[in-house]
Amino acid sequence: MLLRASGDREEKIFNLNSITNSALLSGVEQGELLRDLTDATVLSQWEDLQEIRKRASKILGHQTLVDILTVASGFNGITRVADSTGIPLDKTTAETTFDLRKTTGIENFDYSNKSNRYDIEKDSLTV
């Protein structure tokens, strides 16, 4: 997970559980505002985002706001490439993030696990 690696480089410790648990603070600078902007963008909450943009512009400035939205929109595409191709983790990432994936719940996103959860037919649900 590159957030942990960037924390190591910046000599900061981030709460990685905040990635999957919105109730937790990340420790990343302006993390709550980043989360609000990102979540509204990815969840298509455009009316909410209008207000969040105004707030973020005052605190962060226009260019920083644009850069956050740029990263969020880019990842809104690239995550779909991964989700649509079922690619495995890179070998080194798989080895170094095993415990982390379990702790944060990211392991549940494994594409083979998703088939068990999301291929359920209507009849299965009515039993």
Partner: protein
């Protein structure tokens, strides 16, 4: 050249605007396996999904296969492709191999599937940024008719994904990431699909020393949040 982001009051970076305009035009050209008409129809379907009642209903269901219905659609694409595009756009979290297998079972090739994924995800990036900035979406790309172009056979390798990956030499960079991570190899069976997608994505992120007004850790936090919401294992 298409003009993009003219409406916005925010300072978008010039190289991003230029790249998006170029890739938008590229969608309107014939691809390796689809016509320009098909590719633009993929963009139209991705947009239709945003107001599709069936997609809204399905999103509330326990499983995408737990409900049946008909998509809101304004193209003549076959239903299996409409369903695939709507799922990629509205419900990426719950895509499973079954969706991919159903496309292949309908006599489409894995290469056609990959090119479709590339067009839909590239358009997703461009449309999302417009929406996030609060400006209207660009007109769909102008169609430049012609037959699909075909391609030379790329070097591929099976590494456990639904599709074979580009066969690249494994080396590590100083970020600890491979020089060719799997995400860049995922669409390797259609090199032009890789070029379209990463031509669009390139100015949205960097693995280190990100050339933006945010720190690397802020960029990684945003990326991680998106990955979590979209249940991206990678």
């Amino acid at each position: 050249m298409v003009i993009m982001y003219e409406e916005t009051e925010y300072p978008l970076r010039e190289e991003l605007i230029t790249a998006h305009a170029a890739q938008w035009e590229r969608i309107g050209q014939p691809g390796a396996f689809w016509t320009a008409e098909d590719r633009v129809a993929f963009v139209q379907e991705a947009r239709s999904s945003q107001s599709c009642d069936f997609c809204i209903l399905r999103k509330k269901a326990m499983s995408p296969y737990a409900v049946t219905g008909k998509h809101t659609s304004f193209t003549n694409l076959p239903s299996v492709l409409i369903d695939t595009i709507h799922r990629i756009r509205t419900d990426p979290q719950r895509i499973t191999r079954r969706m991919f297998d159903e496309v292949l079972a309908s006599n489409y090739s894995r290469e056609q599937y990959i090119e479709l994924v590339s067009v839909v995800t590239s358009a997703t990036i461009i449309d999302t940024l417009h929406q996030a900035l609060g400006i209207s979406l660009p007109e769909t790309p102008e169609i430049n008719s012609g037959n699909p172009l075909g391609q030379k056979k790329p070097h591929l390798v099976d590494e456990g994904a639904w599709v074979p990956l580009a066969d690249t030499k494994f080396t590590l960079t100083d970020t600890g990431m491979p020089s060719a991570p799997n995400i860049t190899r995922a669409m390797g069976c259609v090199p032009s699909a890789v070029e379209l997608f990463f031509g669009t994505f390139r100015h949205h992120y960097a693995l280190k020393n990100i050339p933006m007004n945010i720190s690397q850790s802020q960029a990684e936090y945003v990326a991680s949040r998106v990955s979590s919401i979209n249940e991206c294992f990678y």
